[in-house]
């Protein structure tokens, strides 16, 4: 390595190893970040990206290895140490206090004060304005964070880092919550920042984005760096193979849909969110047997409330839901289940499984009270275990032991348990919310294939996902949700990324 090359390295990790109980999260990872570049770190969920970044930010401590920042070996005991050395991090889940203003959030921890610890709020507002102008990050410093859209909240996070004089910026899955247009805006900001000398580590599992914005690409798999690549010589397929370690099919394989009779009919549905505000504001939706309708939309536009209302988990304020010509608007979740509705809930740990129960018990959560699992008030353990053993095999759950508790499984395997349970009964309507969020590519493929198989068996399918690619890959009809309404339903042939992206942002197309 030449001296010139060395001098431009602003951050280097050498042989970083980190173990958690039972898991080797990082295995002697080497990483170099040059000044003014965007280094994309690609890897599946669980590949060790976030662990590595949390070590660079001082939240975790490496068991082995060295971290060098600007030519100096450092021990980062806590985030403060990292901040002092110019490292800033934008976390996947924003670290902003919702009830405080932008300026308060920006200065938190490094406050601008007049004498005696009294906050100088006007000067803080001024400083935020300066930063927002210098880097083209538009934001109102006096607005409450909870009132801001996610795209703007992310800008606040970036300003927060710049306020602390960060010149090394770690962006952890920054596009997960953005529309394609917002993501493009973020890429513009990233280029502005690198032009002003900021170096960026960009963590993602989205291949398109890597090719669009990165100068160099590092790929992590199973806690190790398995390769580096240049965007100019890479393709989505080559990167995916590196990421997963075998060839993968990015496209969901499916035949053309053959829609039959109407199964789900939603008319003028109104639903309130937890805070009592209307979140679903007049949704009309129809799904036929044998077709997949995908709901695309930025999170928080009423998708969750829609799904919860359809599955009986949330009260309907107004409107009507009919399933197979039965009015289910006021039905309980059990009544809806018994109509033949399968539900893959958005939050698998909270609503999908009982973490402390065994897999066998989890597999009968929706029919434990029926024969053969129950005889009167007594459970038939053998039947439960037998059913579990059968499903674990069929759905390839690992470890294949029905007596392990659900909490011990990986995300992908938890999701497989839910899918196994929901698909093991005769189904008329499948409602899948974020069916592949945070799980590995192998499991994603498996679950996608299962969903398509259900469709081909004549099930009506509703897929709600924040991943636009997932919706576009699975759906036969794309319904775009914005601000509590379905603003447009397009047949898949007409649903281009650009068009759907604009609709997701509330534009008329």
């Amino acid at each position: 390595m030449s001296d010139a090359d060395k001098s431009t390295i602003v951050l280097e990790a050498k042989g970083i190893t980190k173990r958690f109980p039972g898991v080797l999260a990082n295995d002697s990872v080497d990483l170099k970040l040059h000044k003014g570049e965007v280094l994309a770190l690609l890897g599946e969920n669980g590949a060790g990206k976030s662990t590595l970044m949390n070590m660079l930010y001082g939240l975790y401590h490496p068991d082995e290895g060295e971290i060098w920042i600007k030519g100096e070996r450092v021990e980062l005991k806590n985030p403060r140490d990292a901040i002092d050395r110019g490292v800033g991090m934008v976390h996947q889940h924003f670290q902003l206090v919702p009830v405080m203003t932008v300026a308060e959030n920006v200065m938190l921890g490094s406050e601008i004060t007049s004498r005696g610890g009294i906050l100088a709020r006007r000067r803080a507002v001024k400083r935020v304005n300066e930063l927002s102008q210098q880097y083209g990050l538009e934001v109102d410093p006096t607005a409450l964070v909870e009132d801001l859209p996610v795209g703007t909240q992310q800008r606040v996070e970036i300003i927060k880092a710049l306020y602390r004089n960060a010149d090394i910026l770690i962006l952890d899955e920054p596009t997960a919550v953005l529309t394609p247009q917002e993501a493009n805006e973020l890429f513009r900001i990233m280029r502005d920042l690198t032009a002003q000398g900021v170096s960026i580590i960009f963590i993602t599992h989205k291949l398109k984005e890597v090719l669009a914005v990165a100068d160099r690409i590092g790929v992590l798999r199973g806690g190790r760096v398995v390769g580096t690549a240049e965007p100019s010589t890479s393709t989505e397929t080559s990167l995916a193979e590196m990421m997963v370690g075998r060839s993968v099919i990015l496209q969901v394989k499916k035949e053309e849909a053959r829609p039959q009779d109407l199964v789900l009919k939603v008319e003028n549905l109104h639903v309130k969110d937890d805070r009592g505000h209307l979140a679903v504001k007049g949704v009309d939706l129809e799904i036929r047997a044998g077709e997949i309708v995908g709901v695309a939309g930025v999170q928080g536009n009423g998708q969750r409330e829609l799904v919860e209302a359809l599955t009986g988990l949330r009260a309907v304020e107004d409107g009507r839901v009919t399933i197979d010509n039965v009015d289910s608007t006021q039905f309980s979740p059990r009544q809806i289940t018994e109509l033949g509705v399968a539900h893959i809930p958005e939050d698998r740990e909270k609503h999908g499984l009982v973490m402390a129960y065994t897999l066998a018990d989890n597999m009968v959560l929706n029919n434990y009270y029926q024969k053969p699992y129950a005889r009167g008030i007594v459970m038939n353990k053998e039947a439960v275990v037998e059913n579990g053993a059968h499903l674990v095999k069929e759905f390839d759950v690992r470890p294949p032991n029905v007596l392990t508790t659900a909490g011990k499984l990986s995300g992908g395997n938890k999701q497989k348990v839910i899918v196994a349970r929901e698909f093991s009964r005769p189904t008329r309507l499948l409602i899948a919310a974020q069916p592949t969020r945070g799980i590995d590519v192998g499991s994603i493929e498996f679950i996608h294939n299962q969903i398509v198989a259900q469709r081909d068996r004549g099930v009506a399918v509703l897929v709600v996902s924040a991943e636009l690619d997932e919706v576009l890959g699975l759906a036969d009809q794309v319904a775009v949700m914005f601000d509590g309404r379905i603003v447009k339903t397009l047949p898949i042939e007409e649903a281009t990324r650009e068009r759907v992206g604009l609709l997701m942002a509330g534009a008329e197309v």
Partner: protein, 339 residues
Amino acid sequence: MTTTMAATTKKGLKLDAALVGRIAIILVAIAALAYYFYRPQQATAVYASTLRQSTPLVLGALCGLIGERTGIINIGIEGQMLLGAFIAFLVNVYTGNLFLAVLAGILTGALLGLFLAWMSITLKMDQIIGGTVINILALGLTSFFYVAGLTTKGKLQPIPLGPLADIPLLGPIFFNNAPITYLTIILVFFFQFALFRTVWGLRTRAVGEHPSAADTVGIRVNVMRYMNTTLAGCLSGLAGAYLTLEAVGSFERGMTNGRGFVALAVMIFGKWTPLGSWGAALLFGFATALQTQFQFLGLDFIPHQFVGMFPYVLTIVVLAGFVGRSRPPAAEGKVYDPE
């Protein structure tokens, strides 16, 4: 219903609530003045008593809200007050020094605060259980070591503030009080300022709302929680000292009489702000003050048990009507464990 309609209704409601609040305050002020012109001495007595009765409630509420703003729910205020009252009383009995006694009360509260912090942060115990432990501990200790017949050597006496004390109506109410009552009023404004205008306040609120956000900018969440819970304990201890050394002049079993729990209602009613809590405490103090004045008002056709119930009924009404409507700090009651 359309969005615009929903938005206007919401806005309209907000506006109405503020308006109703203002009208209510004006009506109360008019009623208070009218009462004063009707029966000046009696009215003054009720109002002065209101302020004094509110003192332990405000202190308890401040203790509660500093804890909850940092994320620690403290339902042990009752116990902190009771043990604080008892220790303050004993120190006074055996040393004869009022100042030392007050300090001892404060220190007792602080130690119990530290104990609560240790249980909820280090031991990761459920905070409601932790608070209950403190309440039972205080009740047990004070009952066991209680000796009948002791009285304090002297009491904290009212200090009239020169000519200010001679202002009609306001003078006797605000400017002729004993030290802890004065101190409490100062503390209300001090903490109102500290919580919303200082670095300490900003960090405290951040820790109670979103601890990991605080952690990622280098604020030490659990240190902050330890500090604040202990500091808050001082205030409950002070409230205890008030009861024995300023209000009564002796100790009785269970003399806090649920004030620690009423203080929590006061805190909620006051929306977790010091000023709001003060207003709420005055309302509760007024309810208590009325008890003692009801007989003089010639309203003895109401059985005194019912009058005595009044503050507690008010607590139930407030809790039923306001819990859930005002928003508590988001991370309260949750253990923060970064790894």
